[in-house]
Symmetry: D2
Subunit: 132 residues, 4 copies
Amino acid sequence: MQPGSQGVIEIRVRYAECDPMGVAHHSAYPPWFEMGRTELLRASGRSYRDLEAEGILLAVVRLEVRYKKPARYDDLLSLATRITSLGHVKIEHAYELRRGSELLATAETTLACLDREGRARPLPEFLSQAGS
Amino acid sequence: MQPGSQGVIEIRVRYAECDPMGVAHHSAYPPWFEMGRTELLRASGRSYRDLEAEGILLAVVRLEVRYKKPARYDDLLSLATRITSLGHVKIEHAYELRRGSELLATAETTLACLDREGRARPLPEFLSQAGS
Amino acid sequence: MQPGSQGVIEIRVRYAECDPMGVAHHSAYPPWFEMGRTELLRASGRSYRDLEAEGILLAVVRLEVRYKKPARYDDLLSLATRITSLGHVKIEHAYELRRGSELLATAETTLACLDREGRARPLPEFLSQAGS
Amino acid sequence: MQPGSQGVIEIRVRYAECDPMGVAHHSAYPPWFEMGRTELLRASGRSYRDLEAEGILLAVVRLEVRYKKPARYDDLLSLATRITSLGHVKIEHAYELRRGSELLATAETTLACLDREGRARPLPEFLSQAGS
């Protein structure tokens, strides 16, 4: 994987994710971004579950979301997830959430690679060297 | 602790717990029941966190909820949690959720005591022998 | 639709749905069952979103779940949803959640048909007469 | 209310909010910030529930969180919520989440005032004029 690696997933908005305004609650989006990262990693031939079993954790240390238009119950959305930066310890992603051609939200996250004791450790080679 | 041990906690309904009908979603209730169990255990002088640190897990194996009247955003509810049965490996609780004197829901759960590998193990002594 | 109508959906367990035991938290299951109902209704040619727009609400009044084996992060599960009873005002479903051939959980729900003011009303014809 | 208005609430981390890393999942925090806003508004003599009943909605249009240290199950946290900017239509808050003296996370949100049709509308007077 390398900066620019991108994947797209579909998300059906669940009823339980919607609030009294009738739209997806803003706290429903971060798990969607996490699904985007999970599938992007899987497309690279590795699963996050395997990484975690090896004691390699990726913790979100920064999250920014800009909500532009509401998503509604039962909407079928597409989420594009892209790696924007790969450092020694940190990895950054950017997200674009769409309903058809309509852009509903954009977001960015920074993840830090940790060991089981919560100490920073280098990203695994298949991630960090991929851009070279 | 023993069958009949009871505790009451207050719960303020969160906006994120409510759905497009404007009421608390039915999936919001099981975490409230879990809070009731946590505080009931704490009142006995132990915390579930400590139990888990010792490798003693309590897993929900059965849940039944009867929703009688809706709870709404910002409602201040009271939840009564009571131990109804203490076996060798399993513990049962019953719950009554109220807004003032109005009964909103009743529920029952069965928890099984497990070790870290997910195998059934006896309940810790302070729980199982308490009734004697 | 009629008693016996059945549908199967796939569910990928989300990281955010899992708890410190490393398994899907028991409160993650009711939204899955709701997804099963949503897709079963859609297969009948109607969407729950349309029903709700017409002022026909389906509220969960009873939920029972039996958790047999844990579901884990990233598991790909299959959920079978089946209508077991269709009354004048109420509809009952049964659920079987599997990972491959392994049965992880079974559940039952009862839903009541309500109008926008929360009063019981007859199920819409396409549901209630379907069995005739 | 005016820029600088501040309130502090206590939050007990729920088991269901924690993930397989054993810490509160990053998606658990935005509902806590919302609780902070709800209580800050209540302290001003109004409830968000009343506002919404009058057709005045406050929608999150931007969220940024910096996660510094993990929160764990059963931790008792304190959340300080502060208004940092009050415009014609938008209101900004800043948040500091602590466990004792330890700073666990900081965050900022921007909310836009909407009517029931989702159109921008001026903030209610008691909010927007409060700073004058």
